[in-house]
């Protein structure tokens, strides 16, 4: 029996899902713990924290959908051809012979994600090169034969705006009514979501005895225990944009196309996963080092502390960009000379992303390590630790039961604070040439490609704008969220 697709687990996919599972387990434990639940609620009680959490949630959703990869079943005749010919997505692999996992497979050698499938109706493929957002004609003049004469003008786009009979006269009206319809759709979706939220709130004990109407009016005047209005506004903003995209994107390139005619909406959406993976997996890789070494140094003091301090001072002395650059250079040499590690270009790009996170993690644990060492030094003098020592409780158990739970908030704060910095770092590293694989869609590669377009005449502004907007919203939401988490979890800011 043959399934219409075969799931494909890339390295980072597996880690992303493990991480998601860990986060879910964590929040299930938070739910049961009165203290932690109160702290998290405090983080969300701040309207900007609530709104940014909603936005981040949407980004995470996109990232997760884009992390479910599979290989679709090929039609029988294509399967044979597919074995012989390298798939189009592997075109960046310089060496097609390096990817010869040509076990004659009935499944396409390219990896698709669920997000690709969902975006398919909104991502028109087949343009030749640049086109402006919502354009009907190409951005670059081309020669074209008409009635035996060569005309040089802007040709009509190949796939976008095909439904317009006369693009010049029909375009404005078409875009206007479609935008209006899109906005209307967005409003409707927002109302449905709000109604759903009110429906949930009615059942919640905190709003006991309130009618639907009463809850709605309180939600709108922000008189509920949580700032749900901020959540609704944030979600509403996103849904309005979604409405526009749903109506406009099937017939237009809403954000334009890039040099090779790819839709920028699609590229921007695909960049989200790369950013999220770098922002989360990197911190995941720093944790074992920072936790183990930081707590050990602070708890045991003496020689162990001296050695650990020496290690992290040494590592920290090397300018991080250079250390990362050196490691990535070495990594690419290693990947180059070990082609057996990956079968397809996508897998190579993924492997490189994985190692990039690992390298970033290994080079950036020193800050958290120092922080944890300092906190542990303070904690170990506390009387409850001494009480445990007076009982002869084993060191490991003291660390596990007494130290670790009491430094958890620092770890959490540092994880959320690091995230936005890592997303920004990816762009810079990709610019320097030591970031993600050039074939991997990311904000860094998008900016890198768009950078020269700004000096074109006339200027190609939309690809940079698309990357800027997506990245800015993601990083801003992460920063705001990190701020409210820190305010809620940091006892110092709490006192103030």
């Amino acid at each position: 029996m043959e399934f219409p697709f075969r799931p494909l687990f890339l390295w980072t996919d597996v880690l992303v899902f493990l991480l998601t599972a860990a986060v879910i387990v964590y929040f299930m434990r938070v739910r049961r713990d009165v203290n932690q639940r109160a702290t998290w609620l405090r983080a969300l009680r701040n309207p900007s924290g609530m709104a940014s959490a909603v936005i981040l949630g949407l980004f995470v959703l996109v990232g997760l959908l884009d992390s479910m990869h599979f290989r679709p079943l090929l039609p029988p005749q294509a399967a044979a051809a597919g074995a012989a010919k390298a798939p189009p997505a592997a075109k960046d692999a310089k060496d097609t012979k390096a990817a010869p996992a040509v076990v004659v497979s009935r499944y396409a050698p390219t990896a698709l994600s669920v997000l690709d499938v969902l975006l398919r109706p909104f991502n028109l493929e087949g343009e030749r090169t640049y086109s402006e957002p919502l354009a009907t004609h190409a951005f670059v003049k081309e020669n074209r034969e008409e009635n035996g004469r060569t005309i040089r003008d802007f040709p009509r786009l190949k796939v976008a705006a095909q439904h317009l009979k006369d693009p010049v006269s029909d375009w404005a009206w078409d875009v206007t009514w479609r935008s209006a319809a899109g906005l209307l759709l967005g409003v409707v979706m927002t109302l449905v979501a709000t109604a759903g939220l009110v429906g949930l709130l009615v059942r919640h004990p905190a709003q006991k005895g309130l009618s639907y109407g009463a809850i709605f009016s309180r939600l709108w005047s922000n008189q509920l225990s949580m700032p749900w209005r901020a959540a609704v506004l944030a979600l509403g903003g996103a849904l309005l944009l979604a409405g526009l995209v749903i109506v406009l994107a099937p017939v237009y390139h809403v954000l334009g196309t890039d040099k090779v005619g790819k839709g920028l909406l699609y590229l921007s959406m695909k960049s989200v996963r790369t950013a999220l993976v770098i922002g989360t997996l990197t911190t995941l890789f720093t944790l074992p080092f920072a936790l183990l070494l930081g707590i050990a140094a602070g708890y045991f003091k003496g020689r162990i502390d001296d050695i650990i301090q020496y290690i992290y001072t040494t590592l920290h002395s090397i300018p991080s960009v250079l250390l990362i650059a050196a490691s990535v250079l070495i990594l690419s040499v290693q990947l180059e000379s070990n082609p057996e590690l990956f079968a397809t270009a996508a897998e190579r790009a993924d492997l490189r992303l994985f190692f990039l996170c690992l390298i970033l993690g290994v080079t950036s644990w020193t800050g958290l390590c120092r922080l944890l060492r300092g906190e542990t030094l303070k904690l170990r003098e506390l009387e409850y630790i001494q009480a445990a020592q007076a009982f002869g409780v084993a060191h490991f158990r003291i660390i596990w039961r007494h130290i670790l739970p009491n430094v958890m908030h620092l770890i959490l704060i540092s994880v959320v604070m690091e995230f936005s910095g890592l997303v920004l770092a990816e762009a810079v590293l990709s610019y320097v040439g030591v970031g993600v694989d050039p074939s991997m869609i990311s904000f860094g590669t998008m900016i890198n490609a768009a950078r020269m377009e700004m000096s074109r005449e006339p200027v190609v502004w939309w690809s940079l704008t698309a990357a800027f907007c997506f990245m800015f919203v993601l990083v801003l939401a992460a920063n705001l969220f990190a701020d409210s988490v820190r305010d809620a979890f940091d006892p110092r800011t709490h006192i103030r």
Binding site: Q334, V428, Y431, A478
Partner: protein, 325 residues
Amino acid sequence: MLAYITRRFLYAILILVGVNLLTFVLFFKVNTPDDIARMQLGTKRVTQEAINKWKTERGYDKPLIFNTKAQGMGMVKETIYFEKSFEMFSLNFGRADDGRDIAREIVHRAGPSLALAIPVFAVGLVVNITFALIMAFFRASYIDFVGVIVCVVLMSVSGLFYIIGGQYVMSKVLNLAPISGYQDGFAGWKFLLLPTIISVFSGIGSGTRWYRTIFLEEMVKDYVRTARAKGLSEFTVLFKHVLKNGLIPILTGAVVVIPLLFMGSLISESFFGIPGLGSYTIEAIQSQDFGVVRSMVFIGSALYIFGLLLTDISYTWADPRVRLE
């Protein structure tokens, strides 16, 4: 005091040795000379002879750490570690892949790097401290509130956008400054204006916010209450009492990066076409010139460790509690 500084100095050397060993392992053990050669020679089917020839030309044909074939000191000296790694302590960095002497190149390029890095550092410090003080003075008011929001927004924009956007607006639209280029001497100021402004601007968000936190943390301390109980004005409290305490972490934190200014900035220099060490490093990374990257790692670490030493010394100068202990 002298013993303290001497001890810190010895520790600094110990760390530099550690860095040296670490980079050696990274560059020669993980990535063997054979790998580099294969990489440089480019094609897949490289013969072992070609690799050996490449290695001999560049002096990579010797044993890694210990040369059993050599005599006396040569057993240690005629090795890759000694020639490629240990020699860096005597500032002998060897040659780049294009055959130029790396040490000489570094000396040449340090000037342009400093010409950009020093103004960015100094102006940035002054601007950030000023904004932070203004926000601390008007704390819990709208000025502070809006200031924090602006800071978070500025922080959320990638540095690349500041440069690309700044170049576009300032040079292309407004025609205020040349997009890129460099000229020695004072005549080159017009090339440095734009990168300086953009670099300072891109650092305002995080810098101001960070310093504001430091000042606000000082402002809740007991001695500030004492100062107010003396009848001093808020202005005096802020500028005499809080500033003096807050500047200790700020300035000693800034001292550590002063030596690193020599390294220049990777991104600005390459965008603005300034022939400094930053763009040198980027070019080396992009052309996979391991010799140059290795040298820059060594110099960068040495400068950072020197910065740590300066920080220790500046503490003894800035904080009476450390100075007099």
